[in-house]
Symmetry: C2
Subunit: 341 residues, 2 copies
Amino acid sequence: MTGLTVAVVGATGAVGREMWRLLPDSAVPVERVLAYTGTRSAGTELIFRDHPVRARALDEASIEPVDLALFSAGADAARAWAPRFAALGATVVDNSSGFRADLRVPLIVPEVNGELLDRRVAIVANPNCSTIQMVVALAPLHRAWGLRGIKVATYQSVSGAGARAMTELVENTRRHLAGDEETLQVFPHPIAFNVLPHIGDFDPAGESREEGKMREETRRLLGLPDLPVSATCVRVPVLRGHSEAVWASFATSPDPDGARELLRGAGVMVEDDPRAAVYPLARRASGRPEVFVGRIRPDGSDPRGLALWVVSDNLLKGAATNAVQIAEVLAARGFLGRSGP
Amino acid sequence: MTGLTVAVVGATGAVGREMWRLLPDSAVPVERVLAYTGTRSAGTELIFRDHPVRARALDEASIEPVDLALFSAGADAARAWAPRFAALGATVVDNSSGFRADLRVPLIVPEVNGELLDRRVAIVANPNCSTIQMVVALAPLHRAWGLRGIKVATYQSVSGAGARAMTELVENTRRHLAGDEETLQVFPHPIAFNVLPHIGDFDPAGESREEGKMREETRRLLGLPDLPVSATCVRVPVLRGHSEAVWASFATSPDPDGARELLRGAGVMVEDDPRAAVYPLARRASGRPEVFVGRIRPDGSDPRGLALWVVSDNLLKGAATNAVQIAEVLAARGFLGRSGP
């Protein structure tokens, strides 16, 4: 395969920056790279393999044929522009929720259901960050014991709401410590020294969008369309790294030691020696591409249940890393490149 | 009843300070008040009804007969000294875990099982903070629908680990923002911009002490010795106010509207209009004596389940307020005072 032309759409956002940073060392054979941003960030100079690349505003004039477009620009931009890139021959990997509910668009976590990438496709959807890390942890256990239900409470970092949310946490933390008034731009309430059980809009029954995504996307990724899943999604004053308290119930009795072995065998990082204060931590997972699992123990309220603590960097495996891994699978299978097979 | 002599033991700690502050406006008829502290804080001048009170180090020489002793000095101090105060005629209300597992000692949340305070007792145990707020929220629902199981993930503020833990969070937050190295004295890992799934020591199966307390104390308070309860207890970078994601399963189908009505009728503060961004928040609950419940919705994974979000000030209803309320019940029933009935 010859080198590919790759566009990163939303290149200056929290996730886009990570996609940009990951590409040079990935197995995607990048020859040329384009950066697209919103109008405010257009003109920003990015560096790719020591060469400057000027970010373009995404519009009719700037769009051009590429082999691969990595999108992290929100659902509206994805719905508007991903089909345009696809029409010019690109494969689009989109990190937004824009196509995740579209059953014609594969929703992929490579180590969970990568086998579905068995042909050229126009668009591949990257799942929700909270869902990816939970499914990476549960898929190996599901294969062994048959998943029957999930309850999950999340501790999600503010970077999941974008770069501006990170600034808001830092600035308002400073203000709160100084006794100054905090200003709210991204979050509906102060996030400094607080937790907010509110991620995305609410439906009439009181479930948030994030909670609905965790159910629907988990069902799709595991191929279990009726799996009972109940999530409570909560924003915590952490910059990077989502943590999750998960209860998983199975068809046959699971055991903690077996779970650790299955997870290690699947490439999951098991950090589980709580008496030595060893368990996954958001700050330590930050900047790392893996999913970390610990606090694996029997669910005292369910003889077929396990409790787990799952942590990952939401900007990496929860977003940029998973998107680049999808592109790597497509490249390895010869499904990328306008002149490919 | 004539005025009582009341001792606050641990008077300069995070909870002791709140007990001290609450006493003058309580229904406990306080005539004289004594402050006991550890040796480091002895000599501190506290103010009670505009009069200075000098804190004494708790030792053989300083102990004297009182009518009521409010203890918040840890389990070791409680086990050592509460029986001594009791032997001199006091009723002790102890906020530590020192006596909670002792079935001869009543474990009380007044609005849940206050009827057990039906006689003079030497020692009454105040439950664990996380347990109190959850049980206040679940007891009215249990009476209506019959509780069958609980799963709970907590978001616990650092004040639950004492005043030094609050200082550690503030100082290390400042250091982290300044790029300086953080120092650890209370927590085993950095708590600034992080979450730690570690509250209390771990048993061989990997359950923390706090998680075990939530099960054992909930069972005792609700009189359900076999109730399945599974907790994951997590410290979050919040100064004051514990939040909890609770799933409760019942014998008969619950409904969210009925739950709101039952809770309001029981004096619980229902804040539940998520589409208007109204739900309980740790920072807003801080300094208030009530338990706040919101995000009440069907548990999508259990037809007989409800999901709830429960928040309260862990230093108040979770500790000092509940202890003072126990004393108020004892006073109203004539069970306080060395010369009483």
